[in-house]
Symmetry: D2
């Protein structure tokens, strides 16, 4: 697998692999990676988009359910490792947010490479709704150019 360069528009957090994340084989149990991804999206909304989940969900009555994920678990991670987590926007629809999430080991090698699609939703109806303009203006700041997406994923 050719490793994809991390674009400059990305949101970054460090993620510690904890005892609670690891299975009897001593490596991260893969559903725990999905919890890490959800935490990362939560941090991104709070710190990168200035829309904390408490406000998004409780005050606005909106949600961003994940409708699709495509994940390669490239290399296992072990307890105590400090991973680098990167998130960026690949594509924006009227109500859909296509993101990439890459987890890298301390040496910069890929551990987990993920593409996800979130849908902006009205919680009271459970139906998709248009992303508000104010939020859209912030989302585009994390969006890579089309060229990079193409190079990244010719089959996407």
């Amino acid at each position: 697998m050719n490793q994809v360069p991390i674009p400059s528009q990305r949101f970054h957090r460090r993620v510690l692999v904890r005892f609670r994340d690891c299975d009897p084989a001593g490596i991260v149990f893969y559903p725990r990676y999905l919890e890490m991804f959800n935490n990362l999206v939560e941090d991104w909304f709070r710190d990168g988009l200035q829309l904390p989940f408490a406000e998004l969900i409780n005050e606005r009555g909106w949600g961003i359910p994940t409708v699709h994920i495509n994940v390669d678990f490239v290399w296992p991670s072990r307890i105590g490792e400090l991973l680098n987590a990167y998130l960026w926007v690949r594509r924006l629809g009227r109500s859909s947010i296509h993101i990439a999430i890459h987890l890298q080991g301390p040496d910069g090698s890929d551990r987990v490479v993920s593409k996800e699609v979130l849908v902006f939703t009205d919680l009271s109806t459970g139906r998709a709704r248009a992303i508000p303009e104010e939020l859209m203006n912030k989302l585009v700041q994390f969006k890579v150019t089309e060229e990079k997406v193409n190079a990244d994923s010719p089959t996407a």
Copy 2:
């Protein structure tokens, strides 16, 4: 989305959506689906392939880490719902097991549709190893014909 017919070679279990699976929006938190999938694979190995995880991992020193998942979350599930979970084999490599997992609601509609790749591994080295013949003979009993895989996923 055209719903895929469940093949006759599938492994089947019922899965109850529990309080612990649900998020503040009252629907299954998506990493919990991945835990359900792992439970299903565990049940399949024990009851469908006669190789319980305790024997697989502790006695034989083997593992089956998930290296790829591709999941569509088609429709949300709620607490107390009894889902039908179906698993079958799409393709078998020397050490790789390509499976499909479909979760359906009580009315037979799709909730979650997943493709996963597991790799048969030697835990002491962490490297892939050939699937033993005895296990391979059991795995093929859950394998759909090529035609059905193609119809299912022309781009796979």
Copy 3:
């Protein structure tokens, strides 16, 4: 520790120790026992008290938050073990439900011994409310006599 005899009024379920429950030491990660307990209470409400959580929470607007737990982890449990889980009522207040939960290994020895206090709550206000008479009538069927509680826990 003198093992406590399981009273006849108990609710019983079998609980399989799964891969997802186990930590890098190969034994159940202790917060997972608390999830098993919550599942047991959920099963008890549905099958023993005829009040499924979906009805309790969504239709009635009630909740039963746990306000106290006291747990002895007597002996570790391992993947693939089929535990026996027993639940009974130790004491009933106007709005509080004091329960015992015992998990035993296949040989009948104690694995986890727990006392918990649940409080019947109105979800809209978050405040305790009186247990409805219909539910109270069912709860007393799982209640041990005072003598047994005293013998069980002189310091409670």
Copy 4:
């Protein structure tokens, strides 16, 4: 409940209440508090006692299973809240470590108050072993005086 003053010998970390921690009632699902406690002990061993879990478990072959917990869930916590988590040592045996963990809300009020007992263990045998002198010397730095323990918990 009289709130206990936090002693000066305590280990402190801030804990963010995340989406993944919360249940359909919008409050922290109580087994998730136990995961927070395990994370806190993990941070304490790494940063307070200079013995990271990766070294403790993988290199030394030791473990610290929790054998007892006693937890009061005083007040619910909600998504986005930044809690203060305090941990200190109440008592030290030859191989047992009695700790207190208090979680407080942003206003300093108690949310969860816990007492736990960990046992220093040899993972190869699963049996208790004496706490090494080097570790004991660090543990005592987080130990409150007997008087405070008595005032804290007259019935312990």
